[in-house]
Symmetry: C2
Subunit: 506 residues, 2 copies
C-alpha cells in the first residue's frame, strides 16, 4: 500500500508496456487476481468506472433505451443457434458443467452433479436476449425494441493485459430490434456517433469512426462499426463497437413480427457496447511519465486540498483553513455536478502528498500552508502542467475559476491526444514506405513504429491476412465520412475506392 514519492519508472520511452503496469500500480487502480487474466478493481479504478457508467448511462437512456438484466449463464444450445457467432466465441468460453461439490474418497472436494446441458458464461448476450425478443416481438407495434444492460462477461484470454484485455470484464451491451433495415442501420450508426461524442466530451479521447472489414467483424454481424483511438505507443485501441446484425440473429432466434401489411417478417437487429477497456485507453492516451492523468468529468476527485506545514504551531490554522476551503468548494459545480473534493489529512510531507495525487491523476491540487494562510491565497497545480508548476490564486479567485480550470485541462488533454495522433498518421501510397512505416527503426525498442497509415486497399482478404502476419498490423477500419478518393492499392496494383486505416492494435 506504500508508494514512493517519485515519477513512474520506467518512462514511456524506455518501456511502454512496463510503464503501463506501473501507472496502474502507482495510481492503485487495479491488481492482478489469482484467477488468470482477471483483475481486482481497487477503489480508485472502480470509481472511474462508476463515473463512466453514470455519464454514459444517462446518454443511453436519453436516446430511448431501457435498462434490463439477463442471466449470466447461457445454455450451450442457444449459443449454437447462429453458426458464425458460436465459431467466433467457441475458443474463449468458460463452461459450467456441474452444480455441486462433493468430497471424494481422499477427502478432496471435486465437482459433482453434472448438468444435463453445459452452460456458458456469457461472452456477450445476443443469443439469450434474442430468445426473449422472439417472445416480446409479435407485431410492428412492439418495435422498435431497445434495451441495454450493464454486466460482466467472460472471454478466456491467453494474453491478458489489465483493463485492455481481461478474462472477465465489465461492459454495457445494447440490443435493439427494428421494423426495417434502414432503421436498424440508423440505430447502429447513431450509437456509434453517441460513443464518439461520449469519448470526446467525457474522456477527452479523439476517436476515428469507421467500419470494420469482413475479417474483423463481430461474429454473426452484417456490418461492424468501430471507434478507434491512438494511444501513447501509437497503437490503436478499439474503444467501442456497434453492429448492424441484419436478420441473422432474428432468423437464429425466430424474432418475427406481423408487419403493417399483415405479413410475418423477421426483425432487423443491432448490438453495441463499450467496456472497462475504456479505462486502459484513458491510461495509455493521457498518462505521462509521472503517472495517471484523468479527464475531469470522470475523475473520482476533481480537486485535492493538501495542507502543508512544518511547524506544529501552524497545524491548527492550516487544517481549519483547508476544511473551510473544502466546504466552500463542495458547494461549487462543474458541468452540473457538485465538485468532488478531498482533504489529504495524512501526516506526510508536502512532496509525498503531491506525488501521491499526481500519480492518481487528480486534475487540480490545491496546496495550503502558512505562507498561503498569510495572504489569503492558495497554490494551485494543474495535472497537465509539470509537477512543480504552481499558480498562486486568491481563494475567491480559485472558487470562481474552478470550472474554467477544469475545462482547460479537459480541452488540453483532448488537443494533446489529437495532435499526437495527427503527428503519427500518414497517408502512404507505396508498399516500401508502408513497410518502412511499420518496421521499428531501433531493434531495442520494437514497439516504436510509425503509427496510423491511411492507405488505398483493393479489399482482398488474403492481402489483409499477409500484412497481418508480416507486420503484425490490421485494418482498424474504413473511416466513415471521408470524401471518396480513387486510387491504387499499393499491395496489388488494383483499383481502390478509398483509404483504409492500418495500425498495430491492442
Amino acid at each position: 500500500m506504500r508508494q514512493s514519492a517519485t515519477a513512474i519508472s520506467p518512462t514511456r520511452e524506455e518501456n511502454f508496456a512496463e510503464w503501463y503496469q506501473q501507472v496502474i500500480a502507482g495510481a492503485e487502480l487495479a491488481e492482478n487476481a489469482e484467477v488468470r487474466g482477471c483483475i481486482i478493481f481497487k477503489p480508485w479504478g472502480y470509481a472511474i468506472w462508476e463515473n463512466i457508467q453514470g455519464l454514459l448511462d444517462r446518454r443511453i437512456k436519453e436516446t430511448g433505451h431501457k435498462n434490463v438484466y439477463f442471466p449470466l449463464l447461457i445454455p450451450l444450445s442457444f449459443l449454437q443457434k447462429e453458426a458464425e457467432h458460436v465459431e467466433g466465441f467457441a475458443k474463449e468460453c468458460a463452461i459450467v458443467t456441474h452444480h455441486r461439490l462433493e468430497q471424494d474418497a481422499t477427502g478432496r472436494l471435486v465437482p459433482s452433479s453434472p448438468l444435463p446441458e453445459p452452460l456458458v458464461i456469457r461472452p456477450t448476450s445476443e443469443t439469450i436476449i434474442g430468445a426473449a425478443f422472439s417472445r416480446w416481438v409479435q407485431s410492428y407495434r412492439d418495435l422498435p425494441l431497445r434495451v441495454n444492460q450493464w454486466a460482466n462477461v467472460v472471454r478466456w484470454e491467453l494474453r491478458p493485459r489489465p483493463f485492455l484485455r481481461t478474462t472477465e470484464f465489465l461492459w454495457q451491451e445494447g440490443h435493439t430490434a427494428h421494423e426495417t433495415q434502414e432503421e436498424a442501420l440508423e440505430e447502429a450508426l447513431h450509437m456509434l456517433d453517441l460513443y464518439e461524442e461520449f469519448l470526446r466530451t467525457e474522456l477527452a479521447l479523439p476517436a476515428i469512426k469507421g467500419e470494420k472489414t469482413e475479417s474483423e467483424r463481430f461474429p454473426g454481424a452484417v456490418r461492424t462499426f468501430t471507434v478507434e483511438v491512438m494511444v501513447g505507443d501509437r497503437k490503436a485501441v478499439q474503444a467501442g463497437t456497434s453492429h448492424f446484425l441484419g436478420q441473422n440473429f432474428a432468423r437464429a432466434n425466430d424474432i418475427r413480427f406481423l408487419s403493417r401489411e399483415g405479413k410475418l417478417q423477421y426483425a432487423w437487429t443491432t448490438s453495441w457496447g463499450v467496456s472497462t477497456r475504456l479505462i486502459g485507453t484513458l491510461i495509455m492516451t493521457h498518462g505521462d511519465d509521472n503517472g495517471l492523468v484523468l479527464p475531469p468529468p470522470i475523475a473520482p476527485l476533481h480537486v485535492v486540498v493538501i495542507p502543508v506545514y512544518h511547524k506544529e504551531a501552524d497545524r491548527v490554522g492550516v487544517w481549519e483553513r483547508a476544511d473551510r476551503l473544502a466546504a466552500k468548494l463542495r458547494s461549487c459545480f462543474y458541468r452540473g455536478s457538485q465538485l468532488r473534493i478531498e482533504v489529504d489529512r495524512r501526516e506526510l510531507g508536502g512532496g509525498a502528498k503531491n506525488w501521491y495525487w499526481i500519480k492518481k491523476g487528480v486534475p487540480l491540487r490545491v496546496e495550503l500552508g502558512p505562507r498561503e494562510l498569510a495572504t489569503q491565497s492558495v497554490s494551485v497545480s494543474k495535472r497537465d502542467d509539470p509537477p512543480k508548476e504552481k499558480q498562486l490564486l486568491r481563494e475567491e479567485e480559485l472558487v470562481e475559476r474552478i470550472p474554467e480550470l477544469l475545462e482547460s485541462i479537459h480541452g488540453n488533454l483532448y488537443q494533446r491526444a489529437l495532435a499526437f495522433r495527427q503527428a503519427h498518421t500518414r497517408k502512404i501510397d507505396s508498399k516500401e514506405e508502408f513497410f518502412a512505416f511499420f518496421t521499428p527503426q531501433d531493434s531495442d525498442r520494437p514497439e516504436i513504429h510509425g503509427g496510423f497509415a491511411l492507405t488505398h486497399f483493393c479489399g482482398l482478404r488474403e492481402v489483409e491476412q499477409e500484412l497481418k502476419e508480416a507486420l503484425k498490423i490490421s485494418i482498424r477500419c474504413i473511416p466513415l465520412g471521408e470524401e471518396p478518393e480513387q486510387g491504387i492499392c499499393p499491395f496489388t496494383g488494383k483499383p481502390s475506392s478509398g483509404r483504409v486505416l492500418f495500425a498495430k492494435g491492442y
Copy 2:
C-alpha cells in the same frame, strides 16, 4: 406484451403464491429465463433495482465504504480455506471446469480444454476478498479497511421463486477488516441499523432487527444479524444480513497486521449484504389485489399523466395540456430528486390506461380530459386508495402538493405494513397455543397460519430442529433491543432469558 384491464387473478386470499406470480407478470417486472432458477429483469423490474441501488449506495459511501469489484470466478482451493464456509456452500455451487468448446466426431459442440483447477462462480466473496485483504493489510494504519461491491452471485436453487430465491441474483456485499473485536462488532451492528433505516425510509418496510441462532448463521460467521420483514401471507423474509466474522476468515486467509504494540495479530472482519430479494419483499408486503404498489422513493415513475378523450376534436387540446403539465411536474422535486414523470401517449381508453399503471404500482395517476381542461383542474388518484377514487385538484394545487401526496403514500404503506405485522404477531407461552398458531385452520389453504410468534426458548438446537420439521417454521431471530425477560421455554420447561421470533419463512 398485452395486458388485460382488470385486477389480479387470483386474489391474495385465493392463492398467495399464484397471486405473486401474476403481480410480477402484470407489472412486467421479470420473467423466467431458460436457465433453471434464473430470471430476466424487464425494464420496470430493473428500474426498481437501479433506484434501490442508488439510494443504498449513497448511504454505504457516506459511512466511509469504498466500492470495488472482485472477480466472478473463485479458485476451488480458496473456497476450501474456511471449513464451515465451504460446507455451507458446497451443495449449491456452479462450477466452471473447461474454457473452450470443440466439435466432437459427430459435429456436436462439447466442452474442451479442462482447467487445471475448477473455478466456482462466486456464491459470495469472503474468500477471494480475504486473499486481497491479506495483501492490503500490513499494519494497524491500514485499518479499518472497508469496501463494498455490487455484483451478481450464483447459488444453485432447487426451489426457485422470482426475486426471492433465484440461482443468479444481484446484490451488494460489504467486507471490512478491523483492529479490534469491538470495532468489528460495532461495524456489523451499524450496517444492520443502516439496513433497517433504509428499509423503513426508502421501501416503507418495517423490519425487526435481531440475531440468528447458531443453526441459521452464515457459514463461517461468529454472529449473524438480520432484518426480518413480515410479508402479506404472514411469513418472514430475511431482507438483509450483517455478519461478525470474528477472526475466522482472517485466520483462513492470513489477514494479519502489526498492532500498535508491535505484535502480529489477526484482523477482525465483517460482511453484510442485501439483494434483489428486496424486490420480492416489496411486492409481497405492499402489493394488493390490483397489483404492484410501489413506495415513491424507488418507483421508476412518481406520476403518470393520462390524457383521456372520446371525441377527436378534444385530442389536440388534451395532449397539449398533458405535455405542459408533465413539463411543469418535471421541474418539481421530491426528496431532493427531480420528479420522474411520463405521459401515457398510447391510443387506448382511460380504463385500460389506468389499469396498466395500477398494476405497475405507480404512486400517482393524473387524469386529464375535456372536463378537467375546462376547469383548469386534474383528477388525481393515489395508488394506496381504491382504483376508482379520485380527487379533483386545481393544477397549481397539484404541483404544490405533490411532495406531500407522495409522502402520505409512503407513510401509509409503512403504517399499513406495520399494523398488519402487529395484528399477526403474538406472544405465546404454551406449546399448545404455539402449535395451534402455526397449524392452518383451513386445510384448503395451508398457507394461512398465525404469523410471528414471540416465544421463550431454552436454546437447545435439537428443539429448534424438531419444531422446524414439525411445523416448517424456524427461529427468524432473537430480537435486539428488547428488555431482558425471564421465562420458561414451553417446549422443554427449561429457563429462558428472552423471547425469540418464530415464523415460517421464504
